[in-house]
Symmetry: C2
Subunit: 382 residues, 2 copies
């Protein structure tokens, strides 16, 4: 039933919906911001994992784009994308697949953040007689991987190791801590911290007489509120394509910008408790509870009618594998809407990357239209 | 590389491993307990979602078995399973697929818990001239769906509605609250509460002169610690096949019984912080944090060496989409093991149903053997 002749009324549930109108608006917004900065956007395709979405997100069919797995790199390469960054520290055992893609003409760049990893990349490049371009990851905010800014000896040792095998392409960083910011001002400050860390490391590499053509930064929040991107050559962002409740809670978007939702059906009630049971459990939503760390906890998601209009204070409060329990927000004065058995609803998710990953396809709709205009496949795996 | 000629050393990571030795032991344990009670087990196949695992879990190729989606029902029916319970309240729009399976000779039973749902089932059965056998769900613990025990008028109204269309097959309940128990004694008490609710409702239906041949109860914890199953005709359980850290935390199994783990590779370090970075993030583990509600929080999972030996107090503490951060448990006196770039580890998950759902196949291994003896496909979707 999830075909182009379906409508919101005939789709089987649970079903992942993608509002193309909203998605296009989100894409145009960030493209406009990047054009204002005069900086290239490298969209991260780990959120959509779909050829059809990728074609709409990228400004050119060949890229640039970023990926989080070699499965993504291989799928997008097969669809004609030739400028790819594998934006997760590369395990040495994965270099064979990296080289196979490079031999096919894909300019795939890898990421390293240690001498050990740089040596593994350099050794393999020498063995194969083929450069494996690498960015050095910088830890701009203590969030995850990367060389600490100021650890210049370590940075230069990695840079020299890569350069000796013709593998040094630049630096990259990701301000993951921006997801914990509490204001647009704090996000803008984090964007500057991200920029300064990457540009500072690039300058240290250049001061040592080594090349550093690429300075890559980005996260969806910092990409939207950066005041200054001087010295940055590209910005990466992923979840902005769909947005989600975490991004709305941060003030990066409005709830009405969120393009990915889950269509569900009422399967029962517990009237004494004010519960409405639906067929969207954690299998359809994921277990992601990103808004639990925000001032307003949206539990497993905001409930809308089938057309996408948000019900005041109505939340997907609990999930089992294939069942969800809808309740009013604690303390709310709103009335529980009458939603009979079989009624269709949409759930707005905490985290688009996690919720979309639970589904094999997008049923594509447009704002204000009940028809499904397309079905776009997703892929997964590693 | 995920083939039958692979070993733990050559598998690409992240990769879902299934220890067949442990799985077989888990299956035999519950089969033995049920034989002792003289009660039929109806294994819930929502955990494995695999034909190969299903064949090993069921005592006969034709079932019985339970499923959580019609996709599962269709897949297992195509593999020859003919006795199936769709154990989630059925949405009226799904009855067409239920009927299609029944016409193919599959004895598929549905679940209802309201007059509205019973009327929808009865009306469709009359329209089609074909019974749709249904169990009435009983809410034995306030956890989810179901008629409250003691609401006999409502129970009998549903039973009569179903019976008038020849659709009344019995009652079912699920003690989901058993996951919150803090002792084996409390689980045993919950098992008795589950049994008493279902048997009491069955007796009320029979006292009204209506048939109630099936009395179906179960959850993995209550199935293992029930003292008495008098009046129960079948027990359902799912996660026992693999077990997980939530079940170990409840005392239903030992960590060494857990059959499903995720193989991962070290991709970096933050030595100043005592962090080890791996390529298993939430995409490979799921966002499930079931042990967060238990006395011992295992964060995103316990870390083992590639052969499955648990490291003391070493946890997958944080996850990004494709990266995990391993740390020692807070306050631990254990030493951080030396795990170089490229080292392989296994992560024991919180919740097997959620973690396995992130993968398309099981790489099957046996206790103490590094060879992959088989690859068993999983399916998903609705």
């Amino acid at each position: 039933m999830t075909t182009a002749s379906a409508t919101l009324d005939t789709l089987e549930t649970p079903c992942l919906l993608l509002d193309e109108t909203r998605m296009t608006r989100n894409i145009e917004r960030l493209n406009g911001l990047m054009a204002g900065h005069g900086v290239q956007l490298r969209p991260h395709l780990k959120t959509p994992k779909s050829i059809e979405v990728a074609r709409r997100v990228m400004t050119r069919p060949e890229g640039p784009a970023a990926v989080s797995t070699l499965q993504e790199a291989e799928q997008f390469a097969a669809a004609g994308v030739t400028d790819l960054l594998y934006a997760v520290g590369v395990a040495p055992a994965k270099l064979g697949r990296v080289l196979a893609l490079r031999r096919q003409g894909v300019d795939l760049t890898v990421v390293v953040d240690s001498i050990d990893a740089a040596e593994a990349v350099a050794a393999r490049a020498r063995e194969e007689g083929a450069a494996i371009p690498a960015l050095i990851e910088i830890d701009c905010d203590g969030h995850r991987a990367g060389v600490q800014p100021g650890h210049t000896d370590q940075l230069l040792a990695i840079a020299r190791t890569l350069h000796a095998a013709d593998c040094l392409r630049g630096v990259m960083t990701h301000a993951g801590e921006s997801y914990g910011c509490r204001s647009v001002q704090a996000i803008a400050d984090m964007a500057e911290q991200e920029r300064a860390a990457a540009v500072g490391c690039a300058e240290a590499i250049r001061a040592a007489g080594l090349p550093c053509p690429v300075v890559s930064v980005g996260s969806t929040p910092t990409a939207h509120f950066a005041r200054n991107l001087e010295g940055v050559t590209e910005v990466r962002a992923g979840v902005y394509v769909f947005f989600d409740l975490v991004m709305a809670g941060l003030g990066v978007c409005e709830v009405d910008d969120i393009a990915a939702t889950v269509l569900t059906t009422v399967i029962g009630h517990q009237p004494d408790k004010g519960w409405i049971l639906v067929d969207a459990g954690w299998m359809a939503m994921s277990r992601d509870r990103g808004t639990a760390r925000q001032p307003v906890d949206q539990l497993y998601g905001l409930v809308c009618d089938a057309d996408g209009k948000v019900y005041p204070d109505l939340l997907l409060a609990e999930t089992n594998q294939e069942q969800g329990i809808i309740k009013l927000r604690a303390g709310s004065g709103a009335a529980l809407p009458e939603l009979p058995l079989g009624a269709k609803l949409r759930i707005v998710p905490n985290h688009a990357c996690a919720t979309c990953a639970q589904h094999d396809a997008y049923a594509v709709v447009r704002d204000g239209d009940r028809r499904v205009v397309a079905q776009w496949q997703r892929f997964r795996g590693w």
